[in-house]
Symmetry: C2
Subunit: 229 residues, 2 copies
């Protein structure tokens, strides 16, 4: 199953949910692609990986496709998640409404800092920050399958190990570190600084590209004796 196709599936779903709000009933692969700067063939190939959802001559029915993609991604149900690390980022994530809209419920929070334990964080009524030793029981008792890791780099691996031991099946890791887990556990790492770094690189590269293009055009113009403008 092509990994890039799975990544794009989430993006298709995001756009389709938007179209649903605007009561758009059907959409062609070309239209959906143009929303994400993809070719029509790309969209069709991606969707065809998972079944035949389209209607020749018509396109894709938005509501139908939304249901299908949710079912493929496993977001046609709610997932319970917990948070470890109630620093600035952790608290922001607890308050983020985007997760709930997609069916993810953050229902517990943990930290090992005594000054943070027993505080209530997030939108009213808030979630109680519990000490780390309560984690295993919470996972078992409250049916929590996912964890959001928002702790400092230095303790990321240790906490990840605790999460795995507690029976967590997937970790969304915001710590700037690559963590290792057993094969039955999935990890997705989001390193915010890395994304800014990539942006810096792209800005530099874009700048150079444009300069080269301009220079090339000028030289070309010079060579054929065209107007330098």
């Amino acid at each position: 199953m092509p990994e890039p196709a799975v990544r794009r599936l989430s993006l298709y779903l995001r756009e389709l949910e938007g179209l649903l709000d605007r009561q758009c009933e059907t959409i062609s692969s070309r239209q959906l692609g143009s929303l994400l700067n993809l070719t029509d063939a790309q969209v069709r190939k991606d969707l065809a990986c998972f079944g035949q959802f389209g209607h020749p001559g018509v396109g894709y029915r938005v509501s139908e496709l939304v249901v299908r993609i949710r079912s493929i991604l496993g977001t046609d149900r709610t997932w319970n998640a917990l948070l470890v690390g109630s620093g600035h980022l952790g608290r922001a994530l607890l308050s983020y409404r985007g997760f709930a809209r997609k069916g993810f419920r953050l229902i517990a929070a943990f930290d090992n800092d005594p000054t943070k334990i027993n505080q209530r964080v997030g939108a009213e009524p808030g979630i109680l920050v519990e000490p780390m030793d309560r984690l295993p029981e919470a996972v078992a008792r409250r049916g929590i399958e996912m964890a959001i890791l928002a702790v400092p780099q230095s303790v990321a691996q240790t906490v990840a190990d605790q999460l795995v031991a507690a029976g967590i099946k997937g970790i969304l890791n915001f710590a700037p570190a690559s963590i290792s887990v057993p094969a039955h556990v999935s990890v997705a790492t989001v390193d915010l600084a890395v994304h800014l770094e990539q942006l810096a690189f792209r800005i530099c590269t874009r700048q150079v590209e444009l300069e080269r293009q301009t220079a090339g055009k000028q030289q070309g113009a010079d060579a054929i004796g065209g107007p330098s403008r």
Copy 2:
């Protein structure tokens, strides 16, 4: 220039900076790869794209490689950045120390919500949240090249247009929407909900894989009449 190689360059740098702290002087492609679950050949090919940094029989000198990669990524200097949207996520990003460590300075913040304007946010002394109409002047006067977009989906494109008009060269977009900008501007989108969705998919898939594996083994054992255990 292979796009995946550039992505990994940031990860190499992150690991190398860690090794530098632990006074590790040299590292082989195999060792560096194992930190990130990559093959040694992958590491060598990636680095070779940008020059000859290695020393046969020795490996790569950590401090040298750090300098080289920073120079390639364009993070051998500081970048000034601004933030738009001082909601929960925006304020968390202003307080995040990881950016400063990588040479990114968040030096201005904007919002169009009157209740947020003129507040000070982030670590002491804090950054003053200014109204959107001050944005163009701030970009020009303070040499700001990057923007972090942490606004709701509904206004993401509008604000992006304002940023472009103000002369911003790169946007790190946290809004759950794909935004379009002219070719001379770079965008990186980080959709937090999408990452959780991908994690949900991987958890489901992993579960099925393991079940199939177990079933396969059992069947295999049955077929050859081995112990069913």
